[in-house]
């Protein structure tokens, strides 16, 4: 560990743009270290300047290469960029192969590009629990754009929509059933649809298909009209237009105050996730110490108490406690449930 690791020192180094400190802080966040929590509390008010762009889509469409191309393009406009690349942890070993970076080799050496690979670490959504905090850290670090690349299968597409301001859904020509894409919810969350590897056959047909499917989606057109763009990350084609589209979307949601709404939604979700996790942890910690509590929970397993009633009892206590004192910023923890 570093020598001066008081919270103030860490915060100072973050604001000063000290790369190693930022990297270490992200690790602490991933490890749920209490120091990380303290730091986040400090820097939280300074968040909100970065534009968070989610990049998702099925495997093999070239997300990483596309991100590399986007970063290069953003850098031409002299923007400071961060990239969070999330890959799945093995459910068996807990390990992960974080290989997205390998497709971004030419970006190394640029001091204004910070790339971090994260493993999902068993998060149900496929998205790492650390992404929110890591994005905030990069925000305060001074990154104007943070690109978040996700696993692109299953639940995580939806999760990314709750964090990112702009969501890119990347597909490639001939990507089978557009119906499949609809089922996966990708059409719902896309702010921009990208057909990458557009040099391959069938690109135009895919674009047309997507326009059609878009029209059927439930999103109201006056909110934002989702463009379908063609790119070839390897050839560097269509990247300029995509960057423009991303900026346009950000402008759009800012002007219509949708940005505030999105931020609020994101933070609310973040709070609820953290709350759920903390209540859970707290309860489990208390169970470890309190035998009476353990016996109480055991009753659920022995079919003497159903889980709904048990939960309602705990909630009732929180309500009671809330009536007693809340609203000033810190709420008391729910007390251990007594025998009912």
């Amino acid at each position: 560990m570093k020598e001066n690791n008081s919270v103030e020192d860490i915060v100072k180094r973050i604001r000063a743009g000290h790369v190693r400190s930022i990297a270490k802080l992200i690790t602490l966040v991933e490890n749920h270290d209490p120091i990380a929590v303290s730091v986040i509390k400090h820097i939280y008010p300074d968040c909100g300047k970065a534009h968070l762009v989610g990049v998702t889509g099925p495997p093999g469409v070239g997300k990483s290469s596309l991100i590399a191309a986007l970063v290069r393009e953003f850098r031409k406009g002299e923007k400071s960029v961060g990239v969070l690349a999330v890959d799945p942890s093995s459910p068996f070993s807990g390990g992960a192969f974080l290989g997205d970076r390998a497709r971004m080799v030419e970006l190394s050496g640029d001091q204004d590009v910070f790339i971090r690979s994260l493993a999902s670490r068993g998060m149900a959504g496929g998205l790492s629990g650390a992404v929110n905090d890591a994005a905030d850290i990069l925000d305060v670090f001074g990154k104007e754009i943070v690109l978040i690349e996700t696993v692109g299968a299953g639940q995580s597409e939806v999760d990314i929509a709750k964090i990112a301001h702009t969501v890119l859904v990347v597909l490639m020509p001939g990507y089978g059933d557009q119906i499949q894409a609809m089922k996966a919810g990708m059409m719902e969350i896309a702010d921009i649809l990208v057909v990458n590897k557009a040099d391959k056959e069938g690109a135009d047909a895919t674009v047309t298909d997507l326009f059609f499917v878009q029209a059927l989606s439930s999103r109201k057109p006056e909110i934002w009209s989702v463009p379908v763009l063609k790119t070839s990350a390897l050839r560097g084609e269509g990247i300029g237009e995509l960057v423009e589209s991303i900026s346009n979307h950000y402008k759009f949601i800012k002007e219509r105050d949708l940005l505030t709404q999105k931020n609020r939604e994101r933070r609310t979700k973040e709070f609820l996730d953290i709350l759920t996790q903390q209540i859970r942890n707290e309860f489990m910690d208390q169970m470890k110490e309190d035998q009476k509590l353990r016996h109480w929970v055991q009753k659920i397993g022995d079919l003497e108490l159903d889980p709904y009633s048990a939960s309602e009892q705990v909630i009732a206590m929180i309500r009671e406690a809330r009536q007693r004192k809340i609203g000033e910023g810190t709420s008391p923890k729910p007390e251990a449930a007594q025998d009912s």
């Binding site: 790369v19 749920h32 070993s93 390990g95 974080l98 290989g99 390998a102 080799v105 190394s108 971090r116």
Partner: protein
Amino acid sequence: MDRGIIRVLVAKMGLDGHDRGSLIVTQALKDAGMEVIYTGLKNTPEAVADIAIQEDVDVIGISILSGAHLVLVPLLFEALKRNSAEDIPVLVGGVIPPPDIPRLKGMGVKEVFPPGSSLDSITEYIRCLKSEKGERK
């Protein structure tokens, strides 16, 4: 708190295109529960240092089969030093002639794994490094 998950950087420096060893090691480390960041090919030593820092890895594993290790490894250490990151342990694997092993260790390489090294030995070594670091804290 899961302080236990080990992050390893598996890096290829220079023009060496042989990745069989590094991909096999990557798979083994992943199966052992570690998070492995793979740099891909054609990285300069400076880039590898940058990546190691951004990814806050517990150890850097360099795979070299081109013979360029005596030139590239010192450049890596220089880059790490420039960024005050010389505390990150460096391991080297690949076709390293026996006389060069002490030379590399003299430069600061913690251990060298020549052809024939078992995957388990590499995994174990990295685990030990990490737990030593933990004890020193």
